[in-house]
């Protein structure tokens, strides 16, 4: 009995650790970002990550995560040593820690600080002038205050002297090397780098001086490296006073308000702040108390929330539900993948596994996407990946809502081109059908508002839930003017799919179709079948219109007249023109199939007669033969 209880308990615990979407898209994007980050740095896929979280959640969140997060941050500006990752993995596997704080401290000093060694040294090394370490009142600036400041500044001073001598003695040559037109006023770090790395011809004296400078540089670097290794990485004994000197140089435009990005906070404060963020210690840090623009730029700031009830959106109630909420929130941007010309794109559905798979699939095609210059094509391939995945994972997604979220830039000041596109379930379930999808998977030509001929991908418009009728009407108009060929199958499938969706909606909207009607629960299961049946029947019946006359010019004239009636949305005019011409063709008028079809699809149709009217026009101007 006890064993069973234990199992149940363990199961419950596992459930709590289960990574799953919450229904709130920006928390979910954070979770996906977290998964992406861990995959990028450690190569774990979703399953592997989930297994590790189930086994040792603390090691993942307090050990692997902080390293990965800062590794990624650093990786954007300089190359980092991948050996450290292997070492971290080995040590975390072998070691046992008494609590999360000990685990975090270990990773912070031994790995994160080790990771930032070069970038920290470079930062301190950039100080060229001894006096720059002091403020106007000749007081040592806080960030240079530590136990060996004097030695450090002395070395900087010696290098400064050497630089001054070189500058004075070799003015002309220096000007040439640094390519500066006016005389040097102040020697900067970049100038130093240029000088040291210069490989052209220089005078013997200058060459010797540069060698000396190199030696001096090397000496400073060695000194700083020892300081960092001995006082931070190995000893971990920096005092509070020295903390700012040893600040890890990190910055982030997205989460400026987290203290570990604050320039005035030292190494120890950075460490505590990061730890509090992971642990969700909202009593320790102000920023953890609220959910607003400070944690996510997609949210409003506290002042901007118009409804007073929503201001000070406290995070406290969320703490019970999400132990590591802020871990996810800071990973938000990693959910997005940057595509050239498209900006940052995220595919989102309310299932983590599904979203993860589709986003990964899109990334695989990233290279292919970016090679294409045409941004329309890029969009097309992206959608194609989504659709392929939809088809592949038929069973697991059918109840999900899907969105594409994209943005160009997002930081404190600007939020540019943010777009949310939803993929309605209805559309998604229809494109699961191979035949319909293939027919819509086509580009057709149309004329834009500013009279340019453009191409448009039907499937994309359809997924976005836009009406295809105006596009096809526009396309058929071009065909009538002999400007393009008719895409008959794509057009007829588009139109009939749209017509059936419109019927379906109108049936559901009727006052007497209650929630308990058969139709309501049946949902759109039958819709695909209806569409295909309608395409079959309409293709045949509407094609009969061709026998209205043997004279192509006459047919073309009728088509023009009909299309102008369609443009005017005038059913009376449309039927009048049609029946007057039909009246002269007794054979067609009395054709049972055609006559019945006309009655049902146009006269009795109060929802979308124009769609079937357009199909008639398409058949009049050639129909299938042009395909």
């Amino acid at each position: 009995m006890r064993a069973i209880q234990g199992e149940v308990l363990q199961d419950n615990e596992n459930m709590q650790n289960q990574l799953a979407f919450t229904g709130n898209w920006f928390i979910d994007a954070g979770i996906l970002g977290f998964v992406n980050l861990m995959e990028e740095v450690y190569g774990w896929d979703l399953n592997e990550l989930q297994n590790r979280i189930n086994k040792e959640p603390e090691k993942v969140y307090y050990g692997y995560f902080p390293f990965a997060y800062l590794y990624k941050l650093l990786g954007r500006t300089q190359e980092v040593n991948p050996e450290l990752i292997k070492k971290l993995d080995k040590e975390l596997k072998d070691k046992i820690f008494k609590d999360s704080q000990e685990l975090f401290d270990f990773v912070w000093f031994s790995f994160i600080c080790a990771l930032f060694k070069d970038s920290w040294i470079k930062n301190k090394f950039k100080l060229i002038y001894h006096d720059d370490a002091y403020n106007n009142k000749k007081k040592l600036k806080k960030q240079f205050n530590y136990k060996n400041t004097q030695i450090y500044l002395q070395k900087i001073g010696e290098r400064e002297k050497l630089i001054t001598t070189i500058q004075n003695e070799h003015q002309d040559e220096i000007k040439e090397i640094l390519k500066s037109k006016k005389g040097l006023t102040k020697f900067e770090y970049e100038d130093l780098e240029k000088l040291i790395n210069y490989d052209g011809d220089v005078s013997k004296e200058l060459k010797r001086s540069i060698e000396l400078l190199k030696e001096k540089n090397f000496d400073i670097m060695n000194f700083l490296e020892n300081e960092w290794e001995n006082n931070v990485v190995k000893q971990q004994k920096l005092t509070k006073k020295e903390s700012l000197f040893y600040r890890i140089p990190i910055d982030n435009s997205f989460y400026k308000n987290f203290l570990f990005f604050n320039l005035k906070k030292g190494n120890l404060e950075q460490k505590d702040s990061f730890y509090n963020m992971i642990r969700f210690n909202l009593n320790e840090e102000e920023i953890l108390k609220r959910m607003d623009k400070t944690v996510n730029k997609f949210l409003l700031s506290e002042k901007e929330f118009s409804n007073i009830n929503y201001t000070k959106l406290s995070t406290e109630p969320l703490k019970k539900q999400f132990e590591y909420l802020f871990v996810y929130l800071v990973c938000f941007i990693y959910a997005f993948e940057n595509y050239r010309n498209m900006g940052n794109v995220l595919f989102y559905s309310n299932d983590l596994g599904f979203s993860y798979r589709i986003n990964n699939r899109m990334k695989l095609y990233k290279k292919k996407l970016e090679d294409k210059r045409n941004s329309n094509l890029i969009f097309r391939i992206t959608w194609q990946q989504i659709i392929n995945s939809l088809v592949e994972y038929k069973s697991s997604w059918s109840l999900e809502n899907m969105y594409i979220i994209s943005y160009q830039t997002l930081d404190n000041e600007t939020q540019e081109n943010i777009e949310y596109i939803g993929i309605p379930k209805l559309q998604a379930s229809i494109i699961l059908d191979d035949k319909i999808r293939e027919s819509l998977n086509n580009i057709i030509q149309f004329r834009s508002k500013n009279f340019e001929n453009r191409f448009c991908w039907l499937l994309e418009e359809f997924i976005k839930g836009k009406s295809l009728y105006p596009l096809i009407l526009n396309h058929v108009n071009l065909v009538i003017n002999n400007e393009t060929n008719l895409s008959y199958y794509s057009a007829i499938y588009s139109l009939i799919t749209e017509a059936n969706i419109l019927y379906f909606r109108s049936e559901n909207e009727k006052p007497n179709s209650s929630i308990f009607s058969e139709n309501y629960f049946n949902n759109y299961k039958g819709l695909v079948q209806d569409i295909k049946e309608d395409v079959r029947r309409t293709s045949y019946c509407a094609s009969l219109i061709k026998i209205i006359s043997n004279d192509e010019d006459k047919k073309s004239r009728i088509a023009r007249e009909l299309i102008s009636a369609l443009k005017a949305k005038d059913k009376n005019l449309f039927l009048n023109i049609l029946l007057k011409n039909l009246n002269e063709s007794k054979e067609l008028a009395s054709n049972d199939s055609f006559n019945r079809w006309l009655m049902e699809k146009i006269i009795k149709n109060n929802v979308c007669f124009e769609i079937y009217g357009l199909i008639l026009v398409m058949n009049l101007i050639g129909g299938r033969k042009n395909e």
Partner: protein, 112 residues
């Protein structure tokens, strides 16, 4: 799609137009008439519908079916049920249903 196109409550009774019944009644009524005659009739009816001239439409139609020896009993019944002044939207469907019924009879009995 609903069979019942137009519904209107007058007093306590509902007025319904069943377009298919109308068309079928027209089809039955006109099947023995000559094609030439019907084509002319259809042409005239179409003109009136185009102008939404309901008065003239009914005048021509009723004149055409005012033949006690013909098969128009069914069409009479249908018209009796739903003759009314209608909004154009309803009238268009009403009128074209009858016209399409007449056109379905072109070429004699072979079509049905």
């Amino acid at each position: 799609m609903s069979e019942n196109y137009w519904e209107r409550v007058i007093g306590n009774t509902k007025l319904n137009i069943y377009l298919k019944d109308l068309k079928d009644a027209a089809l039955d009524g006109f099947k023995d008439e000559s094609d030439n005659y019907k084509q002319k009739l259809v042409y005239n009816l179409l003109e009136t519908v185009r102008n939404n001239d309901q008065k003239k439409f009914f005048y021509i139609l009723i004149k055409a079916i005012n033949k006690p020896k013909g098969n128009f009993k069914e069409l009479w019944e249908e018209l009796k049920k739903c003759y009314d002044v209608m909004p154009e939207e309803a009238f268009v469907n009403f009128a074209y249903s009858i016209i399409l019924g007449i056109m379905a009879t072109y070429g004699g009995e072979k079509n049905e």
